[in-house]
Structure formats: structure tokens, C-alpha cells
Point group: C2
């Protein structure tokens, strides 16, 4: 923490205060990315100009271009981070051994945890539309992730551990639709902690809402 950098509680450096004055900011790429991704999520990637990025970081546009080749590299680094974290969940030991329904439940829980831990990056990923090569590549990796999820649901059905009367691809989409929706409202300092969110999600989708 040299230079007494002004960094907010969330670990995101505070915005725009020192442009052109005082000591140079000396951003690391990760620090810069955290600020920029927060801005992308607040205004939308397309609606955020490089001038907005510069203002948020407290640098000039030129200085931002010293760190990255352009706006798209910022997006690429952000969504790659999210995709790496999500794919890693599927490679965990508990995701690959044991009863299929337990593996599925584990992946649901861990997905919520990763979503919370990497919230800004996952949020940005979930909003990617496919306008650029970077975005298309991200959508491809997302689809690969979804295929691996669907295989997990299929395993649980084949093992007779979940009800067989539902289409597995449809169940996968709805189940992880609920998981992903957490990104729309979850806040680290909000009313609900990660364990409660994960427990409620599992209770809702594995146990069901209706009273016995």
C-alpha cells in the first residue's frame, strides 16, 4: 500500500479526484480493471466512453491507452476473469465425484459463491451481447459452460436421483437462470449473505416451495 493510495472499502480505488494534480496514480492493471468494470456495470459497456473511463480512473484517456490497447481489451480481461472462475467450479473434486444430485447441488452453491466473489466481472459477462469478436468468444465459452451444466442435470436424471418428468435442458436453463439472476440484486453489504442466498436457492429448486 505504498503512496497512500486512496482505495475504497470495496477495494475499488475512488474515482476522478486527482486528475492532473499531485503524485501519479501508478495503477496496476487489476486495480484499473476494478474501477473500469464498476463503470461499465453502472452505465453499460456500450454507453461508457473512454472519456468516462478516464474520469472514473482519474487518468486522462491517453494514460488509459498506455495500460490497454483500447476499450475492448478492458472488456476482454473482465469477462475472461469471470469465465475462468465459473469454469473452475466444474473442475473442483466435489463437482466430479459422488452422487449426481449432490454434485449438481454443489455446483449451484459454488456458482452463487463465485458470482458473489466476482460480482462485477460476472455481471458484465451476463450482459454481453455478441457485438464484437471479444463478445462472441465470451458467448462461446458461456455456452460451453452451459453444456457442462446440462450434462450434470442429465447425470442426476439418469441416476434416478431427481424427477424424470422434466426436460433436462429446460431444467438447466431455469435453474441457472435463477442462479444468474442473483447478479441483478446481490450486494456484498446487502440484506442477504451468500450462505442464505445459496440455501434459499437450493431449498426452492431442490425442495420446492409448496408445503408437504
Amino acid at each position: 500500500m505504498a503512496y497512500g493510495r486512496r482505495v475504497s472499502e470495496s477495494g475499488v480505488r475512488e474515482a476522478g479526484a486527482r486528475r492532473g494534480r499531485g503524485r501519479p496514480a501508478r495503477y496496476s492493471l487489476d486495480e484499473l480493471l476494478a474501477v473500469v468494470v464498476a463503470e461499465f456495470n453502472a452505465r453499460g459497456y456500450d454507453a461508457t466512453s473512454m472519456e468516462d473511463v478516464a474520469r472514473a480512473t482519474g487518468l486522462t484517456k491517453s494514460s488509459v491507452y498506455h495500460h490497454v490497447s483500447g476499450k475492448e481489451e478492458l472488456l476482454h480481461r473482465a469477462v475472461s476473469r469471470a469465465l475462468d472462475a465459473l469454469h473452475a467450479v466444474l473442475d473442483e473434486p466435489t463437482s466430479t465425484s459422488g452422487p449426481a444430485v449432490d454434485r449438481l447441488e454443489h455446483v449451484v452453491r459454488r456458482s452463487v459463491e463465485v458470482l458473489a466473489a466476482e460480482l462485477p466481472y460476472v455481471t458484465l459477462l451476463l450482459r454481453v451481447r455478441g457485438n464484437t469478436p471479444t463478445e462472441l468468444a465470451a458467448l462461446d465459452r458461456r455456452r460451453e459452460f452451459d453444456r457442462r451444466l446440462a450434462a450434470l442435470v442429465q447425470d442426476a436424471i439418469d441416476a434416478g436421483e431427481v424427477r424424470r418428468d422434466l426436460d433436462p435442458r429446460l431444467v438447466t436453463r431455469l435453474l441457472f437462470g435463477a442462479v444468474n439472476s442473483v447478479a441483478e440484486w446481490y450486494r456484498p453489504d446487502g440484506a442477504h449473505g451468500v450462505p442464505e442466498v445459496a440455501d434459499t436457492l437450493v431449498a426452492l429448486t431442490f425442495g420446492g416451495l409448496r408445503r408437504a
Copy 2:
């Protein structure tokens, strides 16, 4: 259907074929909106320029400005249509009388149906970020809708018809997170029809996935 207008199966006039040539298009506002909203959803609202809008409609920018005051009016008309349709669900008789859990289930089913029927408009609504006055007003109406949903869940808990061990606001968010996620993949000509989607969603969230 005068003038033998070229309109696709989805009711959306086909794009860009006649700019500057042949008979004037004579768009109604609703027809124009359908084309434009499809474009907004394909590229993202912010990433869609008025030039893109003009190309998609087969008009010039100037002609588009004859129909609407600007880009934001197009957004306003689209999200208002979605919000009107969603709020109407809560005012249906079956949403306001009978056992609370049945009212809740009815609203879930009808929300899926409205989402499918008004897919492009709801899709656009769900992506609104809050950058402009129009978007902020839309977010306000969405929040009001969510409040009414949460009250429905609370009613079902108070009536003892659903399990009491879950936080009602959290359940509301996850339940309708799953509902809204349908907009991300549902297609009218896709593998799953609306009744199957609604049945599966209700089975998943009210009955639960795990085998008894």
C-alpha cells in the same frame, strides 16, 4: 394489409430492402416499433445508432424522425408496452382471489405467457440500466411490479400454504429471476412451447427437483 407490405412470419417487417426505391413504406408506429425493438435487442440499445435503426426499417434517418422525436421515444414506447402487459397480470381476477399459493402460481404462469407473447419488449425492459429519465421511470415501474409480487409471496406464507423457513423477498427474487431468465433463450419456434416452460418452472419451484 394494403400495399402488399413485406412482413415476416413474426410480424416484423423485413429489413432494409427498399431504401430510396419503389413505393413508400407507410409504416404505422407499431410496425416501426417492432422492427426497431428487434434491432435494439440484437445489438443492444446503446450500441444501436439511428443509422442502424434507419437501415433496419428501410427508411432514412430523417424519415424515422418523422415518426418519433428520437431514439429515446422508441425505447419509451417499447418498455411501456412491456410494463403495461406485466402489470395487467396482477390485476386479473385469478391474481386477486382464491388461495394465496394458487394466486402466486397463476401469476408465475401468466408472467411466462406474457413474457413469451411480448418477448422483444420484455427483453428490452429487462436490460434497461437507468441511464436516462426514460430508463429511470421504467426501473421505477419495475420495482413497483416486484413489490406487488413480494406481497403475493408474503400472503402465501401468512396463509401457511408455502414453507415458512425462507425469506419472502429472497424467494420472490429467485422465483422471478427464473421467470425472467426465460427471456434470454425462449424463441417462439424453439424446442419448448410456453405451456411446457410454465409447467416446468412451476414444477421446479413449487414441487422441487429432488425425488421424494
